[in-house]
């Protein structure tokens, strides 16, 4: 436990000074956004054992809505983020309500199919700009007080949100509600026989995960200034699964580590290998599944005999 606290403090300090170590703030922010996305996804996969194949739908939809609210409707930054999150929450509620009735592969297929519907809506709808995407999304300011135009200001804002989300997820998992989720993960029929309304718990977890994924998408749109089809595409859904599994699903730090590895590789390999990046990352995924199934953090914890939480 003490080691864990020391690790979190260490990571926190590192994150605070990172922009002054010559690391590129926009890259760090992108990293945090995807780490947040992976943590949200992990809430579903790691702690409830529901594998969604369509999480990009919530991430991307929220990015588009936030972008649209800022550029077309002229909303402020915080309101636009909340607007984006509200839409992804709604989307999560609708898709989740349909999907949680099924399990395993059928659950995955329903989330995949409905996410593809969202993708095609984004491709065809006028407000998203189709193939061109939404461009020039201004970052605005925090309640009119602190301008987020500066990369460092924006970085600390994103960092604060990420830490809040991270702690929030920890809180959820350790709460009685989280214990029920873990019970469902371990043995669903048993949870039913104990009298828990399992579908309701699953739906709540689904909506929470979708909303947090949406929050990550909103922030990404503001950080980079655009929302495009890549955000909402199937590839993005696959990437978040990859990040979570690579880092270690069902661990708190796993998705964060996984997102770090994947985004960093993409960043540096894109210069060298172009579109081969996806092949290389695919190969890494295969190695991960064959050699260390619990993911990086999962394996470390197992080796040194620590419980998964």
């Amino acid at each position: 436990m003490r080691a864990q606290i020391a690790l979190y403090v260490g990571l926190g300090l590192l994150a605070l000074v990172a922009p002054f170590l010559g690391l590129y703030p926009v890259f760090l922010m992108k990293l945090l956004c995807f780490a947040m996305f992976a943590c949200a996804f992990n809430l579903l996969l790691g702690f409830t054992k529901m594998l969604s194949f369509g999480h990009a739908a919530y991430f991307g939809a929220s990015a588009y809505i936030t972008g649209w609210l800022v550029t077309v409707q002229g909303w402020g930054t915080l309101e636009a983020i909340l607007g984006g999150v509200a839409v992804s929450m709604l989307l999560g509620a609708v898709i989740g309500a349909i999907a949680v009735r099924r399990q395993g592969i059928y659950f995955a297929m329903i989330t995949l199919a409905l996410a593809q519907v969202v993708y095609f809506v984004c491709l065809q709808a006028q407000f998203t700009g189709g193939e061109n995407g939404l461009q020039g999304i201004a970052r605005g300011s925090l309640l009119g007080l602190l301008s987020l135009g500066d990369d460092r200001a924006m970085y600390y804002f994103v960092l604060a949100v990420f830490v809040a989300v991270f702690l929030f997820i920890r809180r959820i998992v350790h709460s009685p509600f989280g214990q029920v989720l873990k019970a469902i993960r371990a043995n669903e029929p048993r949870a039913v026989s104990l009298g828990y309304k399992v579908d309701r718990y699953k739906l709540t977890a689904f909506v929470l995960s979708a909303s947090l994924a949406g929050l990550a998408g909103s922030l990404k749109a503001l950080v980079l200034g655009f929302a495009t089809l890549s955000d909402v595409s199937q590839g993005n859904s696959g990437e978040v699964i990859l990040m979570t599994l690579l880092g270690g699903s069902g661990t708190f730090l796993g998705p964060f580590v996984g997102a770090n590895v994947v985004i960093t590789l993409q960043e540096y390999l894109s210069d060298l290998a172009g579109s081969w990046v996806s092949v290389i990352i695919g190969a890494i995924f295969v190695v991960c599944v064959m050699v260390f199934r619990r993911g990086v953090v999962g394996e470390i914890q197992r080796r040194f005999g620590q419980r998964s939480d």
Partner: protein
């Protein structure tokens, strides 16, 4: 042990970042090339685009104002997000002084927003969309090689004069395709023609059968192909295989030399197309083409020639003003006439469009072609004003009304 292992993990994470690029290089002139290196437009510019920039730099002497000239390049994979974020990163991290924009209008529009925000000159070459100097114009954008307006004015009017009055479009489904279709439609309507229908095909489509059947069912005389790169050669080949070219006349609204090469003369013969450059126009173009051929074993496309020309223009401007300051360089670029193998008396208009002569070409028959890459004959030379109008685009906010 546990604590050690955790710090080990932390250390490993840190190690990942150790290779981060650090700091801007103020003593360098950095030219970025953001282009499709592996997708449907890779042949139009692609890797050869990087070669041609390097060729221009070594012809210039490798340095300007005593500063080394370096080139950065990236494959944007036709994704606006990759293009824009690389541009931003280079501007923030690598001391970027100018960007040459490769193919894809959607990506270029995204990049132009970054150019405006970061105040870095952006010379769009591979992209055709006229909105780059219209609604999407910025003080730092130059649209150098061609635009959709010129393509419409060239090809569409040539075909209408031959009697092709009714049109059906197969359009690449993004900014470039729709703008090209709009430009051609304007010309068709202005000359008393009619557009009977249009269908949008996603970028990178390989199966055109359903689109072609719709085109055939429309009964139009002309099949307008508002696409480019391998999309163009695939759709043209498919139209041939379906026998549609017997009843409809295909119109290449944008075709590059490499596309004609890929489609073969057998398929492409008799096509009209509009281009800003052809390697076999005169001794100057042939001299450049010969050097280019020696390097990449192909003849240069319009865009590759424009890459060379634009690099030299930019370096000359830097030399003339004695700095890489974006505003000074842009002012210098806008007041300099462009006279080289690529353009005669070209000039950069208030809205950022480089106005220069355009050529309406007809693709030769296999019998007419006397030597390798002998593909076009000139039908008409349009002055820059004929191609793009005499006035700057009023939808550009910078244009004084």
């Amino acid at each position: 042990m546990t604590r050690n292992s955790k710090f080990l993990a932390l250390g490993a994470l840190l190690g990942l970042y150790a290779s981060s690029p650090a700091g801007a290089a103020a003593d360098q002139v950095v030219i970025g090339d953001i282009d499709d290196m592996s997708g449907v437009y890779a042949d139009v510019l692609g890797q050869a685009g990087v070669d041609v920039i390097n060729m221009a730099i070594s012809d210039f002497g490798g340095t300007v104002l005593g500063k080394k000239i370096t080139v950065l390049s990236v494959d944007h994979q036709n994704k606006p997000d990759i293009g824009a974020s690389k541009f931003r990163e280079w501007a923030d991290q690598n001391g970027l002084t100018m960007v040459l924009g490769g193919s894809n209008t959607g990506v270029s529009i995204a990049m132009s927003k970054v150019a405006a925000a970061k105040k870095v000159p952006f010379i769009a070459i591979g992209a055709g969309g006229a909105s780059l100097t219209g609604v999407d114009c910025t003080p730092y954008t130059v649209h150098y090689a061609y635009d959709t307006t010129a393509l419409g004015n060239g090809t569409a009017s040539a075909i209408i004069k031959e009697g092709g009055k009714t049109w059906f479009f197969i359009t690449a489904d993004y900014a470039f395709g729709t703008q090209l279709q709009d430009a051609a439609t304007k010309v068709v309507l202005a000359n008393g023609g009619k557009v009977l229908g249009a269908v949008r095909a996603p970028l990178g489509t390989t199966d055109y059968s359903s689109f072609l059947l719709q085109a055939q069912a429309s009964g139009a005389q002309v099949l307008g192909l508002a696409n480019a790169g391998t999309d163009f050669s695939n759709s043209l080949k498919a139209a041939n295989e379906f026998g549609i070219t017997k009843t409809m006349k295909p119109a290449a609204l944008l075709a590059f030399l490499t596309d004609i090469h890929a489609a073969t003369l057998q398929t492409a013969q008799g096509l009209y197309l509009t281009t800003g450059f052809y390697w076999d126009l005169n001794d100057q173009t042939r001299a450049f083409a010969k050097r280019f051929f020696a390097k990449v074993n192909r003849m240069p496309t319009m865009d590759q020639a424009a890459f060379y020309s634009a690099t030299i223009q930019y370096l000359n401007a830097v030399k003339a003003v004695g700095s890489t300051d974006s505003d000074k360089v842009m002012a210098q670029l806008k007041k300099t006439k462009i006279n080289d193998f690529f353009a005669k008396d070209g000039y950069i208009r208030e809205d950022g469009l480089m106005v220069h002569s355009m050529y309406v070409m007809k693709v030769k028959t296999p019998a007419e072609s006397k030597y390798p890459w002998d593909y076009y004959k000139v039908v008409k030379v349009m002055t820059g004003e004929e191609a793009d109008g005499t006035q700057p685009d009023p939808s550009c906010p910078m244009v004084k009304k």
